[in-house]
Symmetry: C2
Subunit: 454 residues, 2 copies
């Protein structure tokens, strides 16, 4: 049966690609609330097109959440797909070789903002199910889709959606939004996410920009901000907020053993990013371990005063930094936020405004969960080799709502590859990976339908 599904996919992927081009043509930038409802409607239409029962769920102040159900005539188990239809802002625009919302096919790749993160996966999943239905007339499992519109800004309303509609979302297992091939062309599967705390720090000076000659006697908020930032981390990348590491759970022996078998190509990463060396000169397993298990304190943005060409002699009235902290189990973003504020106050920076722009908790599913075994065996069928399974990704997502609140173990797959440039200019996927991604999802349905729960 699966072979016939694969053949169907090979014959019809052009239509799936058309759907993806249409979806990527619709900007859906949650950071500035741009095009979200329009995009949700497009996704709902695609789901209705394969016979799903679709609802546009709403909570106050949030873009719609696209919820869909497809019922099997023959099976009891339910698999849930979590995705998001929103994308990162496309800036800096001048670095795109084709406009971010005019999808462009070049060299067997499709370029567009969101094509890898996460619209390619939405369309691949919908088409995997459509292919099974077309070939077999029924699904081996019940399927649910939860597709939200605020993942890229930290899913601020998903907790409320889960609170209100959580009963609908119940399932035996879930597949997370994304996955990609590494530089060795192995599919990578992630079983967890880090948490995140995203803050904006603002220092204020004179009520308006003044002539920089006044720097003799007028306090400059840019200096103030720099001093505040400079006490957050030392030169060895230790985060200096008291208690920051308090709840960090070190990796288990099982996990360490598992990741010690994962190859980490330091040289390729360096080459890909044009770096002389990685942070702290890290290499191989040490780099991987830090990448998966270390929390971070990162500057996403800095802005103050005059930033155009040439020179303007100004003392700015305001300075701003956007900072994100990636958190690991069992760090708690609310707790870290309080610790950050207390630390700044204790160090005399009570004048610095600290605004929380987003938060997410960390979460992980065990390496031996049935859904993990099913994704792995399905991957071997499609890709001809085992995938690389990571106990967690370094990125974040609202996985804890499913894993912890609803008790759904989560695995993942996706159509990206090592140079997909998620969150960056010239985001793209390879068409071959898109086709294989559809096949992998359809294989997961059959594998998970048949697997023994422990």
């Amino acid at each position: 049966m699966l072979d016939r599904v694969f053949s169907y996919i090979d014959e019809h992927y052009g239509e799936a690609l058309n759907d993806l081009v249409k979806l990527c043509s619709q900007p859906s930038i949650s950071a500035r609330n741009e095009g979200l409802t329009e995009c949700a409607n497009l996704v709902a239409d695609l789901l209705r097109g394969i016979g799903a029962k679709v609802e546009l769920l709403k909570v106050s102040g949030a873009p719609p959440l696209v919820y869909a159900e497809l019922t099997s005539r023959s099976a009891e188990k339910t698999l849930l797909f979590y995705n998001h239809y929103d994308v990162q802002p496309p800036e800096p625009l001048e670095e795109w070789e084709s406009p971010p919302f005019k999808p462009s096919i070049r060299n067997n790749r499709l370029y567009a903002r969101g094509v890898s993160d996460n619209k390619g996966n939405i369309v691949a999943r919908i088409w995997a199910i459509k292919s099974i239905l077309e070939v077999a007339g029924d699904l081996p499992l019940n399927v649910k889709f939860v597709i939200e519109g605020e993942e890229e800004i930290g899913s601020p309303h998903l907790p409320e959606y889960v609170e209100v509609y959580g009963d609908k979302f119940k399932a035996n297992a879930g597949i997370w939004e994304s996955g990609s091939k590494n530089a060795k062309e192995q599919l990578t599967i992630y079983l967890g996410v880090k948490g995140i705390l995203y803050v904006e720090l603002v220092a204020k000076g004179p009520s308006r920009d003044v002539h920089s000659a006044s720097a003799t006697i007028v306090p400059n908020p840019a200096w103030r901000l720099i001093r505040a930032l400079s006490i957050l981390k030392d030169e060895n990348e230790n985060i200096l907020i008291p208690g920051f590491y308090e709840n960090v759970k070190p990796p288990s022996k099982r996990e360490l053993e598992h990741i010690s078998k994962i190859e980490f190509d330091t040289e390729k990463l360096k080459e890909n990013l044009g770096l002389k060396q990685l942070l702290l000169g890290l290499k191989g397993l040490e780099a991987l371990k830090r990448h998966l298990y270390a929390p971070t304190c990162n500057i996403c943005g800095l802005l103050s005063g005059y930033t155009g060409p040439g020179s303007k002699t100004v003392l700015p009235s305001r300075a701003m930094a956007k900072v994100d902290f990636r958190l690991v189990p069992d760090q708690d973003p609310d707790d870290i936020y309080l610790k950050l504020k207390n630390y700044l106050r204790e160090k005399g920076f009570e004048d610095i405004e600290v605004k929380m722009l987003g938060k997410l908790y960390p979460a992980r599913t065990p390496l031996d969960a049935p859904i993990v075994r099913a994704t792995v065996s399905a991957a071997i069928k499609v890709y001809g080799k085992p995938p690389v399974v990571y106990p967690t990704m370094a990125g974040s997502g609202p996985m804890y709502l499913f894993v912890k609140k609803l008790g759904i173990p989560i695995s993942s797959t996706g159509v990206g590859y090592y140079a997909s440039r998620a969150h960056a200019p010239n985001e793209n996927i390879r068409i071959k990976d898109f086709i294989e991604g559809m096949k992998h999802v359809s294989a997961i349905l059959y594998e998970y339908a048949e697997i023994e729960e422990k």
Copy 2:
């Protein structure tokens, strides 16, 4: 005779104002090479209109310098006016109440970018001379104008202009570009300028912006820049570059005595800028002394990563700071530039690119120079009270080219006031000050014509 000149000004200031509106309607932003030649032509037309012999001087790569001469039939002495027709960039545009290049009269003030710095003074000077010519038929002095188009970016080509055309510029004394009334409605006169070194610091990270989850192992250039900036100055505002203060000449006893009589209204300044306190809690004479005699290290601009609304989880590929150092006699901007680069290199920041965007040397004219006495006595005639004479301003300008290279002692006057907002949104002058400014310039011509050289 002067009374008749004053009457002429009172009767004709509306025409002068029209000329000023026209001049301010022409953008002339040297920082981005916008509208400079157009503006030079407008200034040249105004000068030709009063019978001056005008030349548009050129050196390679520079906007034209407007040079003009008016010859007296009866006098030997020559007075030179230095001005500039370029203006600062108008950003942030959203803070302007009327568009920066559409001059707007409200509450007896004229609002426009450049109206105070420095186009109001150009027009006031031209009209002062026109008024004398109309009333008296001859000037009491020969007059020269040197009006450049790059002052706001640090006059990068003026040294070459002076090198090539310096013989033309020779004069017995000069009047600098600007002056304004303080909060006590006293005219302020400045006899010197600070030097400046303007640099751009750039830190580079990965070859493109990457997902902020990679902050575990990818170096972030924003952190690097912050570390580099944080070693430039300590918390007590001491600049930490070795040898930075080496050539700083402390104020003379005469100067200290002189400035101790100048009132410095700490409270008004704080109120005007919405500050709780000045830098380091300075007040009164101590603040004034620092303002006039201390060099600075100031951040004019900061830029890295995502700076729009909301949150974008990115690790930026680049971070930039614009920094200006105001320098006092006998600091040398080239010397400070080398010391800065050496310091950063010694501290391990050889990866930070340090680009010099501009430099100027400091310069001062003695308190008892004849042109200073002439400006003071002329001011008493026009304003009915003595002006406040500052041994130097806290700002910079290419004064050293005239004072040191050409040996021309320099005084100043101008049509600004304490809330003129030079370099900031809603730059403006009061029409009353514009009229008095024209009168002051005409009085200076007569006073300086008659004064005894020492």
